[in-house]
Subunit: 414 residues, 2 copies
Amino acid sequence: MSYKFDKKIVKFQSINNPYKQDVIIHPIMRGGIIPDEVQKMLIDEGWMKVGYAVCYDCIEGRSGLVSKPPINEFLPTVAEFFDGDTAEHTFGSRAAQFSVMKTIADNISEDFAKIVLTDPLCHYTTAIAAEMNNLKIVEAQHSNYPDYKVNAEDFVDRIESIKKETGKLPGLIAVTHVEPYYGNLNPAKEVGKIAKDYGIPYMVNAAYTAGIFPVSMKELKADFLTVSAHKSMASIGPLGFLVTNYEWSDKAFKKSTIKPDRTGRTFSKKIVNIFGCSIGGLPLISAMYSFPHVAERVKKWEEELDKARWFISEMEKIDGIRLVGERPHNHHLMHFETPIFWEISKHHKRKGFFLAEEMIKRGIVGLHRGLSKHMKISLYGLSWEEVRGVRDAFYDLTKKYVDEFKLNYESQKA
Amino acid sequence: MSYKFDKKIVKFQSINNPYKQDVIIHPIMRGGIIPDEVQKMLIDEGWMKVGYAVCYDCIEGRSGLVSKPPINEFLPTVAEFFDGDTAEHTFGSRAAQFSVMKTIADNISEDFAKIVLTDPLCHYTTAIAAEMNNLKIVEAQHSNYPDYKVNAEDFVDRIESIKKETGKLPGLIAVTHVEPYYGNLNPAKEVGKIAKDYGIPYMVNAAYTAGIFPVSMKELKADFLTVSAHKSMASIGPLGFLVTNYEWSDKAFKKSTIKPDRTGRTFSKKIVNIFGCSIGGLPLISAMYSFPHVAERVKKWEEELDKARWFISEMEKIDGIRLVGERPHNHHLMHFETPIFWEISKHHKRKGFFLAEEMIKRGIVGLHRGLSKHMKISLYGLSWEEVRGVRDAFYDLTKKYVDEFKLNYESQKA
């Protein structure tokens, strides 16, 4: 390439991370914080030396069959942890959901329509996975503002209306265990019972819960559990898991049967729906290192929930701020409506950007830049001192601007 | 979980890497060695702190649109580097190939058959990508033992036979730039001309070349270039790129249009064929850090080739050892037939495992465990001193066992 090109690209080698010392409050990040001791092991053991980090001793040509490091023991352990029968690692929950939808699309019988019935606030990756497999998304409803709750019985109504319209059952029911908009815990167990009663395959997307609190797919009556390791299992991304029961594992993890015509080569160890082999690499090593930590932390979920609920009550002391979503809240993802910040943004020269920027000035990163009317936040895994620090930062910036702009708001009711 | 479970999982937190000090000679690893200074930046800048490493400042909901870190500048730079028009990052070349095959399958017109015409030694991921999209693989032929060369003209024969059989053209021609069995450089440019003449979409899988020597997809007349960052761009895995020309980019990177019925939500920034957003994470940061190094190293390819050719001539001084594949050799992946090691394995108590194990004892890792009749090896990026060290290790172990087992072999002809 040209001298000009060489000059242009130099900057990529010195990209800095302005947030390396900051407290992270981004809801998609908190469950994926890598413990210090895991980072240390990754470094000390030299796993960052090479891209294909888990392939030194690959004999059979698929990461899941590697025994050094013990991936072939780790995957069944992950399955056991989530009370499933078989697990494979994937490129995140999105790729796991793709595999599920593909399994459904490939095996659909005439009793079922090419429709996925979902909760109404499923993650976008559920919709994309359906789109990738030419499946339509039909949604159950929620209760609208302010709690957006989903009722399991509504799934029955939707199944019946799909039956009426198409003469068939939906090909899959997919429920987001905790949804990503308001952090609501969906009635996954009750929907599981409904799915079983109708004989409809059932997937639970546990990207926000598996690794956060105890999740049993048997209890949920799920056929498929999709898991995000970088979101909720303290792992380097991208990594996730697809866990299935025995009934579905052969279909979900079917081996390759394609046979090119001349060489007649076959690839019988490769799993089609996970691209043959999903590589793993450094993310998979990190997941193994983090796993004992994750297995331990799910036992302490109640402590984490206390922090979230305390923080909600503290934030609601600021005039106008209100949690949107279910009460009492059952997840670390919190969504607040923040009319006071919206009001400040109208007076602030940085407009809606003031909020995230003020927090960053205070060493707290993760609010969506530009938004001030609403905010999503998580304090999962932070110490009580840090949790109080985040509260104080919001109190502080509110007071500052209420005073500065002489707003008709109380900065705290307390 | 139970006490027994907790006890069982403790071991995952202390998995060690027995090869952290070793010289790596695994052909899939050498192009993915992470430079020391890149590892240092990843650590010092705290990018390992969280799974979603590139999402702090995501505003639009897709990693490719993020400006801090400058992914939105990096992707066009990658496209420019490979002489293409548009690039997106993917979960490796396998996911890029999947996107290509999906693009073809989704857009196939009646003039084209659901057939991918490939070189006969394409990587398994090409076959799996086809299988995932219900496309058949038809292969051109090779010249068989000992050079396995592919002739571009044979693609014409195959196109004609497909036309005769189906009345249609193949939906895609896919050529592996350098194939993974013998390291042969395929006639990608000549096939590109043929593809253009027939008007058949053309993909080059450059997993073993892009990032190793200069690759111009315009010169190859490719519509799609699939790239592996962990294999050939000195990156943490899993990561790859799909590069397209303008003609195909809207189709390959089409935005989501799915619209769930009740909420009417749309996801118009998300790219369907890459799961909406391909996350990136630590692998993507590593690729940006490594990129200037990669752009520089491709200019020094001839030096690397000298090492490979020198090594071939040195290895062939051992009685019976012979390179399989084209001569002169044009890639760092070398495949040797090693009857002398096969003979040793018959006398050795570790059977075929002796070879990889003997090398590991000498601080050299990456031979496929259990195999001794053939071996694949790469010395890409090693210093001349290390290259000589690898040669010496083979000489040494050969001499040791020829003497010990009193074999009728000369250990070196020289």
